[in-house]
């Protein structure tokens, strides 16, 4: 008694109409969907063609690649093509300034150390990322001063440099060990010396003594391996730009956190002071702060004390950046729900511990994209130091056209420098966008 089984067989879907699929469909939909759009597309394509072809003609097709002076370039192509040999001749100065050529390896090594220092932050299975990140901000600058500045140092400064060197070794060793074994460096070391099961006090003693011994070794290295001093007058180019913006952002992070906490705290004296500082520095342009420090810092210091121009500029940039960073941090703190503060208080945590363990980690996470944006801004703003006479990347580019051999060569170095700035800033902004996506845990309210 089997009835014929009824099976529902859908007809296969008809293909989409031709012209809505593939390249043609895309072009129709995105470029020629209406008469107005056709007109816009034609106009846009024409404008893009004019601009791109003009730039390419000038920068590539008509450009001169080999010449000894600007006169030669002008004789060859006139103004219709770029004169790149001038930029090539000044390339070294655009990057390193007037830093002695024999010493440039110190700059390169210094930046390589920084890269090695922060690379573990992006590696998986490295657990001590917070310590590594903090040490890069707080400890690396001493090592950088050792490489970049060189010269004689006092005992304390040398100790700090030795400590910085030791921290660098610790960062490398920790990240290697943690990636390999998944255990911390201390556990591995203790296991090596056979003290893995000893009592904690003994373990602490072992670690302390080995750290001290390593510090002594590091101090000996710093003491023996002295680098000749290179005065800051010789610093310039991209190197100087990176140094100023690097110090600015490094200083402004902790200072901004303190200022923001100060502005939000209940103690009226501290809160008023922080608010006045932040609002004052945020309401005036950076150039006035730079002028103020170049003209007034000599008045504020004891009679006879001279301050390096670079130091004045850096102080100005640091204070300016801290005020802006404080507002970013305040924004991050405001985004933390009240319940978090109350929960921390309910756990019996005091002000500093609840701030450091509960509030700040969450706030910092929200702030990272904004902080990267602030860093881009600061990186661009360092061009202003050229107005007070420092030879940063922009001023170096301007100096090319004042060289007697390349007299009047302004556009080409500016073009090159613009490209450099663009690459740095664009890369950072894209990174900040990807971070924002990665950190978006959907908890936003």
């Amino acid at each position: 008694m089997s009835e014929p089984e009824l099976v529902f067989r859908p007809k296969p879907a008809r293909p989409a109409p031709a012209g809505t699929l593939g390249v043609i469909g895309w072009v129709r939909h995105n470029l020629f969907s209406s008469p107005a759009n056709v007109l816009l597309t034609v106009l846009g394509a024409y404008a893009a063609y004019v601009v791109v072809s003009a730039v390419l003609d000038w920068a590539v097709f008509n450009a001169v690649w080999e010449a000894d002076s600007r006169r030669e370039c002008l004789d060859m192509v006139g103004r219709s093509g770029a004169c790149w040999p001038g930029v090539a001749a000044w390339f070294w100065n655009l990057i390193y300034g007037l830093y002695p050529k024999d010493e440039v390896w110190r700059i390169n090594l210094g930046f390589l150390v920084l890269v090695a220092w922060v690379v573990p932050l992006w590696l998986e299975r490295v657990r001590s990322k917070v310590a590594i990140g903090l040490s890069a901000v707080l400890v690396y600058p001493f090592l950088a001063s050792y490489f970049f500045l060189g010269g004689e140092k006092g005992l304390i400064w040398s100790l700090l440099i030795a400590f910085s060197l030791l921290t660098f070794v610790w960062v490398l060793a920790t990240s290697v060990v943690e990636r390999r074994t998944g255990r911390t460096l201390a556990e591995t070391l203790l296991a090596r010396v056979g003290a893995a099961d000893a009592d904690p006090a003994h373990q602490r003693r072992v670690l302390l003594w080995s750290a001290l011994a390593a510090l002594v070794v590091a101090y000996a290295v710093v003491w023996l391996w002295r680098l000749p001093e290179t005065p800051t007058n010789d610093w310039g180019g991209l190197f100087l730009t990176l140094v100023i913006s690097g110090i600015g952002i490094t200083f402004s992070l902790p200072a901004g956190v303190l200022l923001a906490l100060g502005r939000r705290c209940d103690l009226p004296v501290i809160s008023v002071f922080c608010t006045v500082f932040i609002e004052l520095f945020r309401s005036v342009p950076l150039i006035t702060i730079l002028f103020m420090f170049t003209t007034m810092l000599p008045l504020f210091l004891p009679v006879g004390v001279e301050v390096d121009l670079l130091v004045r500029a850096i102080v100005a940039v640091c204070l300016f950046a801290s005020a802006y960073m404080a507002e970013i941090v305040r924004g991050g703190l405001q985004a933390i729900p009240r319940g978090q503060y109350e929960a921390a208080a309910a756990m019996g945590l005091g002000y500093w511990r609840s701030t450091a363990l509960i509030i700040m980690p969450q706030a910092l996470k929200i702030m990272i994209p904004t902080i990267v944006g602030q860093f881009i801004g600061l990186f661009k703003d360092t061009t202003l130091v050229s107005i007070i006479g420092l030879f940063d990347l922009l001023n170096m580019a301007r100096a090319v056209g004042e060289d007697t051999r390349w007299l009047g060569l302004f556009i080409e170095p500016f073009f090159f420098v613009t490209l450099l700035y663009f690459v740095f800033c664009f890369a950072m902004s894209q990174y900040s966008i990807s971070l924002e996506r990665k950190l978006d845990t959907g908890h936003r309210r």
């Binding site: 995105n30 470029l31 969907s33 759009n37 816009l40 597309t41 846009g44 394509a45 404008a47 893009a48 209940d266 103690l267 009226p268 004296v269 501290i270 002071f273 609002e279 004052l280 945020r282 309401s283 005036v284 342009p285 150039i287 006035t288 002028f291 103020m292 003209t295 007034m296 000599p298 008045l299 504020f300 210091l301 004891p302 009679v303 881009i376 661009k380 703003d381 061009t383 202003l384 050229s386 107005i387 922009l394 301007r398 302004f410 556009i411 500016f414 420098v417 613009t418 700035y421 663009f422 800033c425 664009f426 902004s429």
Partner: protein, 397 residues
């Protein structure tokens, strides 16, 4: 109940006292205040010593002294023998002129680019995004210098200047345009204009009230607009066109007459407005995107015309997001106009904080006055912004 022994609750007189939150709060503040006072005293002490060593005195007396230098471009009249206080005013006027013109241009440009960024045409979208990314990822100072050295300095000489209808002229000495010369009776035209604007505003209010009461719609917008345009024009013709134009003319090596601005001004205004337009464009885009799709659909289901949907539903909500960051961009334009010093345009920082400071050596009052101006501008803007925010704040129930 857990009872602590009395002794441990009162443990250590000094420690216990220091653990009292109230005492601590006062202690921290006293320490901070002491540190600030000490730092201030140290700075003042050093400054006095330094000024003594240089034989200088601080005060605002120098403001009445003759400045003794010329200024290449001034909005308000200025001569070489005028006082320092006049120089300060000249600087402020020039800064405000640059800022206002740049703000207007940047807003128009930013609006266009921001809307282009939302276009359904892929090419227009991509082009505007490229424009924004290139300009906002390069330093403003670099752009100002590039516009100055790369464009406005390379323009042809006055004899071969680019001109438009023989009315406007652009060359390497600057930009020239006709100057209006109002004749007798022109003030009536201005009065008519003011009256027409007042009439239009009143009409709009009346139409609104009538619509609320009766539901009838009166086309207040086109009528008001027509009144603003045609009433002053009519008065102008009735009075026999009391306005002449002074044309710039090429005499000898340069243009004479008319209004003119130097190349540094053009470079500064173009660079500032192009740079700022990127940020305004992004504000416009994010503002319009922040209006949820449901609002469009709700408007459509009420059968509103597309133009009404835009004007009554989308724009009021988008403006709430667009305006606050745009106002702070306006403030940024004012601050960024201080970069004029790099190309020699005499704005406040250039003539006051640089030239006057070097001439008179009065660092402290000059720096203080400059900062006071920028602080005043910034405070004004934040007042306006707070007012606006309070007005448009979502009235949640």
């Amino acid at each position: 109940m857990l009872a602590l022994p009395r002794s441990s609750r009162r443990a250590g007189g000094l420690i216990g006292w220091l653990n009292n939150a109230h005492v601590r709060a006062i202690l921290y503040q006293v320490l901070t205040a002491a540190a600030i006072v000490l730092l201030g005293w140290y700075l003042v002490h050093n400054t006095v010593a330094n000024l003594d060593a240089r034989g200088m005195s601080v005060g605002f007396g120098f403001l009445d002294a003759s400045a003794g230098f010329g200024i290449s471009f001034t909005l308000i009249p200025y001569q070489e023998g005028d006082t320092y206080s006049r120089v300060f005013l000249v600087g402020i006027a020039n800064t405000l002129l640059v800022a206002i013109i740049s703000i207007i241009l940047a807003t128009v440009l930013g609006l266009i680019i921001g809307l282009a960024r939302l276009s359904d045409n892929w090419l227009i979208r991509t082009l505007s995004r490229t424009y924004i990314e290139i300009l906002r990822n390069t330093p403003l100072l670099l752009q100002i210098i590039a516009w100055f050295f790369g464009v406005f300095n390379l323009l042809p000489r006055p004899r071969d200047s680019l001109s438009w209808l023989d009315v406007f002229a652009l060359n390497n000495r600057g930009f020239y345009m006709p100057a209006p010369l109002p004749g007798p009776g022109f003030e009536f035209v201005i009065a008519a204009f003011v009256l027409a604007v007042a009439f239009a505003v009143g009409l709009k209010r009346w139409a609104h009230r009538r619509q609320d009461a009766t539901g009838q719609i009166f086309p207040a917008l086109p009528v008001g607009f027509a009144a603003i345009v045609f009433v002053p024009l009519a008065v102008f013709w009735v009075l026999g066109a009391p306005l002449a134009w002074e044309m710039p003319e090429l005499r000898g090596f340069n243009y004479q007459g008319g209004l003119s601005v130097p190349p540094s001004f053009c470079a500064l205004v173009v660079a500032l407005s192009v740079y700022t337009s990127c940020f305004i464009a992004e504000n416009v885009r994010s503002g319009i995107q922040s209006v949820s799709k449901g609002q469009h659909e709700a408007a459509a289901s009420l059968n509103l015309k597309p133009s009404w949907t835009m004007r009554l539903i989308i724009l009021p909500q988008a403006l709430r997001v667009i305006i606050p960051p745009t106002i702070s961009q306006y403030l940024n334009v004012t601050k960024n106009s201080s970069l004029a010093i790099a190309i020699g345009f005499p704005d406040l920082v250039s003539v006051w904080m640089n030239t006057s400071l070097n001439q008179s050596g009065q660092a402290i009052p000059i720096v203080a006055m400059t900062m006071a101006f920028y602080c005043a501008a910034s405070l004004t803007v934040s007042l306006i912004m707070n007012q606006y925010n309070r007005r448009v704040m979502l009235k949640e129930r």
